[in-house]
Amino acid sequence: MLDLSAALSTAAALVIGLDPQMLAIVRLSLLVSGSAVLLAALIGLPLGAALALAAFPGRGVLVVMINACMGLPPVVVGLAIYLLLSRAGPLGQFGLLFTPSAMVVAQTILVLPIVAALSRQVVADLWGEYGEQLRSLGASRPGVVATLLWDGRFSLLTAILAGFGRACAEVGAVMIVGGNISGVTRTMTTAIALETSKGDLPLALGLGIILIGLVIAVNAAVFLVGQAARRRMG
């Protein structure tokens, strides 16, 4: 338990000291995961809604695939993106490997199935409740999608938070496509992995505590905003 108390005091020292290097790492983590979640939401919410509402051959297969992809191993995604972005790969000429952009792409792919699968469920449930009424009002398809996404916003927020949690926590994908380059692509999780391998367990655990604290803070903020909005909107 010595380690744990050492970790706590290390975490406290890092936070109180506002270590600039650590702030840069935190900033990059939030930027990368936040961007990935934003992109995944922009694609995943309409995709989930479309899957909930549209009937087309192969929909069932697609739904199963997307649900299964919620469990995609980050390392595999990282490897696939690496092969694409490598100078020897098809997208090599863009020079994205070992940049934050590559990390955003990898995390977007990790988060997208979560957002799409959960929003499909939310929208399908809402459609069961709203379907007749909206059809009676003569809402168009795109209108229905927009309405259901908006009315499901509190549940969808949870789906997005689940995606954010996954993005923040994963290390396998960003390690491979980012390269854990100090000051360029080092995030909270890759820094934790690095400190662990250097045997500096208190520092690794301290960073872990900060990461958990950040994730809790983001979730609490969203929860409070959601509560206030829910109280106003029912």
Binding site: T99, G179, S197
Partner: protein, 268 residues
């Protein structure tokens, strides 16, 4: 709406290009990175040349493969046989000696097999194999791993047949392997640099050192720019020359942890 999304996506993707600085990518090994050597070298190099170096620290085997795919501009690795093969295969150019350090055998201070103070690492490995004492191997095709396997070979140990139960292939980096060795009281081979900066030693101590077979030379190689587009050959050359030139060599000699010099420059 679609336009706005595309614009946003483009904006996000461009975050990678915020730093419009001049840089090269060097694939190197965890042992050099984790010792803190780069922290001492890179700022000095950037001052001299205006070029930043982004270090991707992986095992030597993986570093060589990154080079083969053109994902690094230069390499700093430690597996002479692998390096020569890399150059012979046309992937790399102008392999140069940079520095060396050495490997040490670490193990629990109680040293149940009694190898402490042996000047011959092959003999030490023979005793470990005979006693079937737990040994933690990186098992990750790194330079250290390749060196370790060479010593086992000269010790005449057939790990596949006799290693069961005590020879643990971890498939991890040096630090993670030391963490595991410390946790289970196992022997392990490590480079001195990683050992010097490793904090979670618990009961581990150095038991064998100084044998010639533990010599660990590092080489700098330029990635052949002909094979892939986008390789920053000119800037990589500046780095290659600096590292093997007087300024780089002096910086390597000047890097110390707790007053101990970890790497010894030996460029010709």
């Amino acid at each position: 709406m679609l336009k706005r999304i595309l614009l946003l996506a483009a904006l996000l993707l461009s975050t990678g290009a915020i730093a419009e600085e001049r840089f090269i990518t060097v694939a190197s090994t965890t042992s050099t990175d984790q010792s803190g050597l780069f922290g001492a070298l890179l700022p000095a190099f950037q001052r001299d040349s205006g070029i930043a170096v982004r270090v991707v620290a992986v095992g030597t085997g993986q570093a060589l493969r990154l080079g083969e795919r053109g994902d690094a501009d230069a390499l700093l690795v430690h597996d002479r046989a692998g390096e020569d093969k890399f150059v012979a295969g046309g992937f790399g150019l102008d392999r140069r000696d940079v520095m060396y350090n050495d490997f040490v055998v670490v193990g629990p201070s109680s040293d149940p097999v009694g190898i402490k103070g042996l000047g011959n690492v092959t003999e030490a490995f023979k005793r470990i194999a005979a006693a079937k004492a737990p040994f933690a191997s990186r098992g990750d095709d790194s330079g250290t791993n390749r060196s370790e396997l060479r010593i086992w070979k000269s010790a005449g140990a057939d790990l596949k047949a006799d290693g069961i139960g005590w020879y643990r292939e971890l498939g991890s980096g040096m630090g993670a392997t030391l963490n595991t060795a410390a946790g289970m009281g196992a022997y392990a081979l490590t480079d001195r640099g990683t050992w010097a900066s490793f904090k979670n030693r618990q009961s581990l101590v150095i038991l064998v050192e100084g044998d010639k077979a533990l010599f660990n030379p590092y080489g700098s190689i330029l990635v052949n720019p002909v094979l892939h587009s986008g390789i920053k050959a000119a800037d990589a050359l500046v780095w290659h020359h600096w590292l093997t030139g007087p300024k780089g060599q002096a910086a390597i000699a000047g890097f110390k942890i707790d007053g101990e010099q970890l790497f010894f420059p030996d460029a010709k």
